[in-house]
């Protein structure tokens, strides 16, 4: 009986997504044979022009997540440290740099790039990381510099970033020796917009009690909106996923068996501990209903113009979650707490990701002041397990849940 129940809880679309991702990586691996070019791009970078130019985008950060989830992060990080990189460097960067040399990891390394696209809207680390890789592979590198919008998107910022978007297109024309196809761009833009809307709708379904999926599922289903944004594949897939979620709500199927408490997660996942963490919270009848991370890939949709996508890229890519002021980030967290009706906030203080972790103390304070909800801070790293202590994290989660229970029961 319980086997049947847990079978029912499984999200059916997961298999389809795995297949899509496999095909995506296979296509990339054989790109050379099909005369296709490959661009490595940062997770927050504007990918749509690449798709419009028929260039296959590859995300070293998505690869980093795979390395973390398959528990291969420690070896690769150590290898990078052997090469002379500091253990304080982001573990995605460490894993990627050493993986390029040893061709390790779950898929034997990424297909080699023909160009690199680096956008610093997520962090400054990517600048040096992509410079290292540009030297290693000896390929052209394009850097898109997006100033942080502490309070607003000023006319100066708009002008500065727009000029670079124009350069970006010129760069792509030069590297591919082809003219930029604005018509195709418009189509890709519409698809990207639609996929983001759908992704937002999928995430919104967890406002329902009990929640049809958890943030742990969102961490998984995120892969397509990152890697295949701007394609019909992503749109079709998220339509299907949304349908499945809506059906689950109708059928009363929840992800956590006895959902009683609803929590919000902040920062990247701890990739090598997903299973343990989700079980841990589930044992406390708690569901992580939403997170600030997966929503980042549709968070700037309000700045995107679906009918003039390329014209709105500058603003949409500059005003993403990690590139705004702490007050605005806290505002978004508060909105999410309200929308998802959360009973508490769990913050992952991520040793790797400084821009994400730096303002957390302030956000925590603001959330405590405005909502009086319990906030938990756990220290870890998304890929390097040497920065994670299970027994310490366990005590903190248990204590946090005891407080929530005391408050709610």
């Amino acid at each position: 009986m319980s086997d049947k129940l847990s079978e029912k809880r499984k999200i059916k679309s997961a298999k389809k997504m795995r297949d899509i991702m496999t095909t995506y990586y296979l296509d990339a691996m054989t790109a050379g044979q099909n005369n296709k070019q490959i661009a490595w791009i940062t997770s927050g970078g504007p990918v749509e022009p690449l798709v419009a130019m028929d260039i296959i985008p590859i995300y070293p950060e998505n690869h980093g997540a795979m390395i973390g989830a398959s528990k291969m992060g420690e070896d690769l990080c150590i290898k990078a440290e052997d090469m002379g990189y500091s253990s304080d460097l982001c573990s995605y960067a460490r894993a990627d740099i050493s993986c390029s040399v040893v061709k390790g990891g779950p898929i034997g390394g990424l297909p080699e790039p023909d160009m690199l696209i680096c956008c610093n809207n997520i962090c400054g680390t990517v600048l040096k990381w992509y410079e290292v890789q540009a030297r290693f592979y000896n390929v052209p590198l394009f850097i898109l510099d997006t100033p942080i919008c502490h309070t607003r998107y000023s006319p100066e910022i708009a002008k500065y970033v727009q000029a670079q978007i124009d350069e970006y297109i010129a760069f792509l024309e030069k590297v591919t020796k082809r003219k930029f196809n604005y018509e195709k761009m418009a189509e890709v833009g519409r698809l990207a917009f639609e996929a983001q809307l759908l992704w937002q709708k999928v995430l919104n379904t967890t406002a329902h009690k009990p929640s049809p999926m958890s943030a742990f599922d969102a961490f998984f289903f995120l892969a397509l909106i990152v890697t295949l944004r701007g394609t019909k594949i992503a749109v079709d897939f998220y339509k299907e996923l949304l349908g499945e979620m809506e059906q689950r709500i109708k059928d009363g199927i929840s992800m956590v068996p006895n959902e009683k408490y609803r929590l919000l997660w902040d920062n990247l996942p701890v990739w090598y501990q997903l299973k343990w963490l989700s079980q841990k919270f589930s044992d406390h009848n708690a569901c992580l209903v939403a997170d600030t991370y997966t929503s980042a890939w549709c968070g700037a949709i309000q700045y995107t113009n679906k009918d003039n996508f390329i014209g709105s890229i500058a603003e949409a890519y500059t005003r993403i979650y990690l590139n705004i002021g702490v007050d605005q980030m806290a505002g978004q967290v508060l909105d999410m707490i309200k929308f998802y009706n959360a009973d508490g906030l769990v913050m992952h203080s991520n040793r790797s990701c400084k821009p994400y972790s730096f303002g957390q103390m302030d956000i925590m304070k603001i959330v405590r002041e405005k909502t009086n909800l319990p906030v938990l801070m756990i220290e870890a790293d998304m890929v390097d397990p040497r920065n994670f202590s299970q027994s310490q994290v366990e005590t903190r989660i248990d204590a946090f849940m005891e407080i929530i229970k005391q408050k709610n029961d």
């Binding site: 405590r368 319990p374 202590s389 027994s391 310490q392 005590t395 204590a399 407080i403 408050k407």
Partner: protein, 255 residues
């Protein structure tokens, strides 16, 4: 009805018994390498000391880092909630707790009803925990229990700048080589540990009156340094070390 609380810490194991909302007795032993055995031993010893048989116990709650290894407990709860409950039981006025244990130190904020409102714990490093003091005591060849007395005789506390326990240890060793007074080095160690713990208290904006619990509360030097850092007096009861076990017993009576 009699209720028991068992607190398995990384250094010591504690047990407490409660009857009709009054404390019957407590017991402390070293945990050693076997937390399962320590739970059984400390419980048996307390029963014997209190002339009570197992069958008279209505419920047991375990706590501490070894809480899961007490298989005969009815429930396991974290130190946070147990220290909160214990402190409130001993003194209902208490609003803040600083607990420095073997491998964790924490600051706890209680509401008027003695419920935990918020807490902060040390990060993954041993600085500001009992383990830090233990390592230093060893390097200085001083009994852990005597650290406090030594530091009270300091005239000019040494300055330990490393946060990391391992680096701090080598700093201490080089101070010994430079023949700095042992009393001063020890006072410096306390100040360094107190600085770490005070950060936790400030993080959650702790409210007075604050009770200090955990084994390290017995160390007068550490209490002094903490009070200087925080700028107010701490309340230290005779049963500071047993506080978690007492809280666990109180919570057992509410199961």
């Amino acid at each position: 009805m009699i209720y028991a609380g068992i607190d398995i810490g990384s250094i010591t194991a504690k047990a407490a018994l409660i009857k009709n909302n009054r404390l019957l007795g407590t017991h402390v032993i070293m945990t050693g390498y076997d937390p399962i055995n320590a739970g059984i031993k400390v419980f048996d010893a307390l029963l014997k000391q209190s002339r009570i048989s197992k069958t008279q116990i209505s419920a047991i709650i375990s706590t501490g880092y070894g809480r899961a290894s007490v298989s005969f407990a009815d429930k396991a709860l974290t130190e946070i909630i147990c220290h909160g409950t214990g402190a409130h039981f001993m003194n209902p006025e208490i609003r803040g707790i600083i607990d420095v244990g073997g491998q964790d130190s924490k600051a706890i904020f209680l509401d008027q009803n003695g419920q935990v409102e918020n807490f902060a714990m040390n990060d993954k490093c041993a600085a500001g925990t009992g383990r830090f003091l233990e390592v230093m005591a060893k390097a200085l060849e001083v009994d852990l229990e005597l650290l406090g007395d030594f530091s009270l005789a300091a005239d000019k506390p040494s300055k330990i700048s490393s946060i990391c326990t391992v680096f701090a240890e080598s700093e201490v060793i080089s101070m010994i080589a430079k023949q700095e007074r042992r009393e001063n080095i020890i006072a410096g160690i306390h100040e360094s540990a107190a600085a770490r713990v005070a950060i936790l208290a400030n993080k959650i904006k702790i409210k007075k009156p604050v009770m200090m619990t955990g084994g390290v509360a017995k160390n007068k030097g550490m209490v002094n340094s903490l009070e200087n850092r925080l700028g107010f007096k701490l309340i230290v009861g005779d049963l500071a070390q047993e506080n978690g076990a007492i809280g666990a017993a109180v919570l057992a009576s509410k199961l």
